[in-house]
Subunit: 256 residues, 2 copies
């Protein structure tokens, strides 16, 4: 079969994701969020595009509205925070309400907690961490046993980064990504304004690569990090060469 | 005039805010956002409640939709990122479109840039940073001159934290906050589950204080930070006393 299109063009829908960080402590600035960056990096690696993030307070109606909006807009929704045993941990109950599901005590989760705690230490407060919306699939927590859960395309995880990361690694096999996003960067001592015009031309020639330009201050001097993202390694290599030539042409230097 | 209400109850509407972080580099995890935490802390201090944050990519339609949604929902919207001179800096043009305003070259901004750069160095790329939506009020940039801008309740600032922070301090006097949110915290070696039940009772008795419970791992040991937020210093002092008594009663210790 003949075609006017080159055979190597495969039109594939991007797989998209959204992160919802739930917690007053992030909005108040008391705690620095680290989960968005972790999930963003891992999504790139497994071929999922993190397109959107929301940080919201521990308010039931806000959690319900946000989860219901985002799960319609993105292929995957990852939440972090609010699944512990205290009064301010309202994520599980709110998500049950968002899905119109009962919040039930999962026998499987109780068994996990029972196995983790010494005899007699599985208090009612701890048992609260076994409450998940009906029809949830549990997410393994190798750090402290209390599981997260998946309901349709929503993955509900802990807020503590070390636990969130372990949970994310536990669900990776459930996620279907596309091509991995490859990233490379070149730093230069040129300012953004000096390279803006030439860089724009290069971007036009490489429309399949996303080129970001990020100024920095280092030892009192201004410079720019040029970050290139693309799924095709050979295109990235070609682009790197062009960018280095551009820097040289503009009288700048590539720096480490 | 007599009243059934105690005279010291003043019903005041909370002043609310939303942060919109604009930048692929934050979503990809290449750059760790620091602006949300900074703005959150400062908002607490000046009596504004940071209720919501979105992190979105450098996509025109997404910027327009997000800004238009958020500026209707919150008293103040603070954006960070995308106002530099390169091809990926599309925030100013997108926000002009969101407000149905022309993007104009501000004479005032040109003068600021002209004053900052050496003679002959004010290139077309740099002049792009003087383009703002019609009717904007500029935001001073004491670090590198190129200004941000305010349009109605939307404050458009740089992404680089040191510049964003300087711009935020430059707009503080334009913001009308309510009572400052005071915050104090107590750390204990008790686990969350051990104190969940008693803490819940205390929260019920102090409905005017938001108590957050945040587990941590420190030198291999689990503990909890209890964070109390309230606008009334005397209530916070009272609550601190009760929390310390609770920790003692439960056989735990207050730790630094």
């Amino acid at each position: 079969m003949s075609s006017n299109f080159p055979v190597d063009i495969i039109v594939s829908k991007n797989v998209t994701a959204c992160v919802i960080v739930i917690g007053n402590e992030i909005l108040s600035g008391r705690t620095q969020d680290l989960n968005v960056a972790y999930i963003g990096k891992r999504c790139d690696e497994i071929g999922i595009r993190l397109m959107h993030t929301r940080i919201i307070p521990d308010l039931e109606e806000t959690i319900i509205t946000t989860v219901n909006e985002c799960r319609m807009l993105f292929d995957y929704v990852f939440t972090s925070g609010g699944i512990g045993p205290t009064h301010d941990d309202i994520t599980s109950a709110s998500i049950a309400r968002a899905f119109n599901k009962e919040l039930i005590r999962s026998a499987e989760a109780v068994a996990l907690l029972d196995n983790y705690y010494e005899a007699g230490k599985l208090t009612e407060a701890r048992l609260k961490m076994a409450d998940v919306p009906q029809d949830s699939i549990l997410i393994d927590n190798p750090v402290s046993a209390a599981p997260g859960f998946q309901l349709e395309n929503v993955f509900v995880m802990a807020g503590v980064p070390v636990i969130m990361q372990a949970m994310f690694e536990a669900i990776v096999e459930r996620l279907s990504g596309g091509e991995a996003m490859l990233m490379t960067s070149i730093a230069t001592n040129l300012g953004e304004s000096a390279l803006a015009s030439e860089l724009s031309k290069i971007q036009d020639a490489f429309s399949d690569v996303s080129i970001g330009s990020y100024p920095f201050f280092k030892q009192g001097k201004l410079g720019v990090n040029l970050v290139m993202r693309c799924t095709d390694e050979s295109r990235l290599a070609l682009l790197q060469k062009d960018i280095k030539l551009m820097i040289e042409k503009l009288g700048g230097e590539v720096i480490d």
